[in-house]
């Protein structure tokens, strides 16, 4: 069995994005990650800054004046953004082979049988150490707290829009612990699986 696309859902700090980029580079196909932000902006009519602001978070206070205005707009804007995201990801799936990291692409494309759905995770200690190496220290924030907060955001986002359990093995063809197995091993394994 070979596939046209790979979607990678991942825990923060697990190296899922790195794995996606490396597979794509080895296969000579595009990898969409941060690039999706500008595509979503273009599709929705929001600015890149607004998309980042709304992305995976509750709308921040500074955007609106009153609580009522905030609540109303939060819901409306987030739905509009989700619709843009769905559309962008479905268009990419039509275009050609690629890797997509995050953005619930696994669920958005769940009815396609040419999509290899991957979940990358790792133990908390491994991830806490890795985010400091990759993203640096963040003043006043313990690395473990940073990953747990991000997990919570991703979990909430995923469940809100997909009504599925975040990290449920059954939603993926393959789920890998990158900390235990090694990032290079994961890249080689997934590359082989994609090629069939």
């Amino acid at each position: 069995m070979s596939y046209k696309m790979i979607t990678i859902s991942r825990q923060f700090g697990s190296g899922g994005r790195t794995i996606g980029k490396e597979i794509a580079a080895k296969l000579g196909i595009p990898c969409y990650d941060q690039e999706l932000i500008s595509m979503m902006a273009e599709e929705s009519g929001f600015s890149v800054e607004q998309v980042k602001e709304l992305d995976e978070k509750e709308v921040r206070k500074k955007l609106f004046t009153t609580r009522a205005e905030r609540a109303l707009n939060s819901s409306y804007l987030q739905s509009a953004l989700w619709n843009a995201q769905e559309k962008v990801i479905r268009q990419l799936a039509e275009q050609g082979p690629c890797v997509i990291v995050g953005r619930c692409a696994d669920r958005i494309l769940k009815d396609r049988d040419d999509v290899l759905r991957v979940f990358i995770h790792a133990d908390d200690d491994y991830r806490a150490k890795r985010i400091v190496e990759v993203y640096g220290e963040k003043e006043g924030a313990d690395p473990l707290d940073r990953i747990l907060e991000k997990d919570k955001l991703r979990e909430g986002y995923y469940e809100r829009y997909t009504h599925d359990q975040w990290g449920d093995a059954k939603n993926f063809h393959i789920a890998l612990n990158s900390g235990a197995l090694g990032i290079d091993y994961c890249v080689e394994l997934l590359k082989g699986l994609y090629q069939g």
Copy 2:
């Protein structure tokens, strides 16, 4: 990284047991599955029949006369059986290389770093078809109902004793959809991973 043991947790009908047996045969190491029943019987002092009766189920009515007697004994017997199961699995881990299928072995041995923890699952349609091929038809029972009922039992059992979510990718080094990837592929992949 190489491992000493493999634990395989699996959805009913996913071929997890077959995968475990085949890996063990190829590696020339024992695979424990139904064999654990008699070991648990010996350890606990129950008969093999009693262990089967208590296993993964609520204690059936026929064993006890009154509801109070049933509730009391159910809890007591199931705890005793769980203790025997933990002990048997920990003893096997001390003995030498092996594969253990089911029985929450992944959680019982979660603190060991020489255990490769695997979850095998597959889509409902694949499993419904497979159980008829492997176990035959069951009069008056739809194959899909049979797998869903068994999933529910395993899920309840796992969560009751381990306090973890059944099928959560994060509890495993690797989780595989055997229906999509193929049983032979899973066997070869896991054998390679075990050997390091």
